[in-house]
Symmetry: C2
Subunit: 222 residues, 2 copies
């Protein structure tokens, strides 16, 4: 197992994050790297979804993960154990990453051979949604036990996301989760949202999500 690399991010001093994010997005497009910004509540299954996707990514695309966290390096450890190139980013208590912090991570990661870099953002439905990281795609996970009312309570997250992954569908039987009501709320705010239902644990639905992501990565990097 490779040694875990810990990067302490510095708060951005740039005033115009939106412009900075656009610049980063253009740069990544040029160097044929697809940056995926993955957001969700704590414990929705960001890390386990990535592990499940790895079964399909392997051999198809070269990818790596930047794990952002307040503290700890448990997620980067998990990735490295699975053979996925990974670094751990620490935000020094901050609840989000902006474009400049994302760039710091990418520079420190220093991998130009990857088709896809996933930024696993801080587990938080509020702050990460407010900052464009420069990613080509925003993906958010809503796990069934969290309840179908999250899009009502955290609307911005569901506005900025391109893809919504409903995870832990294997637990559907023990929770009251109304898919129809949830989808209706989401589509009202974001008619173009792509929605996938998966269980990272059992693997159900993961193939379709992986196929979609691989297609998007290949199209972007052409």
């Amino acid at each position: 197992m490779s040694e875990i690399r810990l990067i302490e991010l510095k708060e951005s001093i740039l005033e115009d994050n939106d412009r900075d994010a656009q610049a980063l997005r253009s740069q990544l497009k040029e160097q044929k790297t697809f940056l995926l910004n993955l957001m969700s509540s704590p414990g929705s299954g960001k890390t386990s979804t990535l592990l499940a996707l790895n079964e399909y990514f392997r051999g198809n695309i070269r990818w790596g993960v930047m794990e952002a966290d307040i503290d700890s390096a448990v997620d980067a450890e998990t990735m490295l154990k699975a053979g996925i190139p990974s670094i751990q980013l620490h935000t020094g208590g901050m609840c989000h990453l902006d474009a400049d912090m994302t760039r710091q991570g990418i520079t420190a990661f220093d991998r130009h051979d990857l088709d896809l870099i996933v930024l696993e953002n801080i587990g938080n439905l509020v702050c990460p949604a407010e900052f464009d990281t420069g990613a080509a795609m925003n993906m958010t996970i809503l796990s069934v036990p969290e309840g179908d009312d999250k899009p009502v309570k955290y609307p911005l997250m569901y506005e900025v996301a391109d893809v919504l992954v409903v995870n832990k569908i294997d637990a559907m039987c023990v929770f009251d989760f109304d898919c129809e009501r949830m989808e209706k709320t989401v589509k009202k705010r974001n008619p173009d949202m792509k929605i996938f239902y998966i269980s990272a644990k059992t693997g159900e639905g993961v193939a379709a999500l992986a196929a979609y992501l691989i297609e998007q990565v290949k199209e972007h990097n052409q």
Copy 2:
């Protein structure tokens, strides 16, 4: 059903939140009001835990709830339907409440007959932990589906909390949740943490939590 009152909070201009929080705490102690700051990830079951507690609070203590949210008023609606005095606080996109914002809420609530006011904070494990609201007690909920590693990833929340409620224990069978490991991590950072295991859905364990809270409220308000 009473009409829902929506309060738009203004960002505090005070520089010393810790001192302001102490002042609010003293004031509430004097007027015999116990303020409980309830924090957790989105979807851990803050609202449903309060509804379950109401069965035991009713007739024992007079209480009300300030529901804080980015948007929507669904939680205040739920409380009012259950006959619990409640107002909805909107933070205008902010991910936390500080002492001054909490005071704005209490002033707007304008209920001097309550033994207990619960502040249901924004669903977020990062930002709310950083701000002392002036509460007599901080309580955090960790739901089983979120996983036993949350105290490793969001350590500050588990340092500032006095009480940890592990919720959704009825779903323990479908998730891998190691209570022993979780408790060990928590106790290392916070040896005095009181831990309760409940299911707000089935009611299991709620009586013991309610008894403890009622005791704390009565002791504070003596």
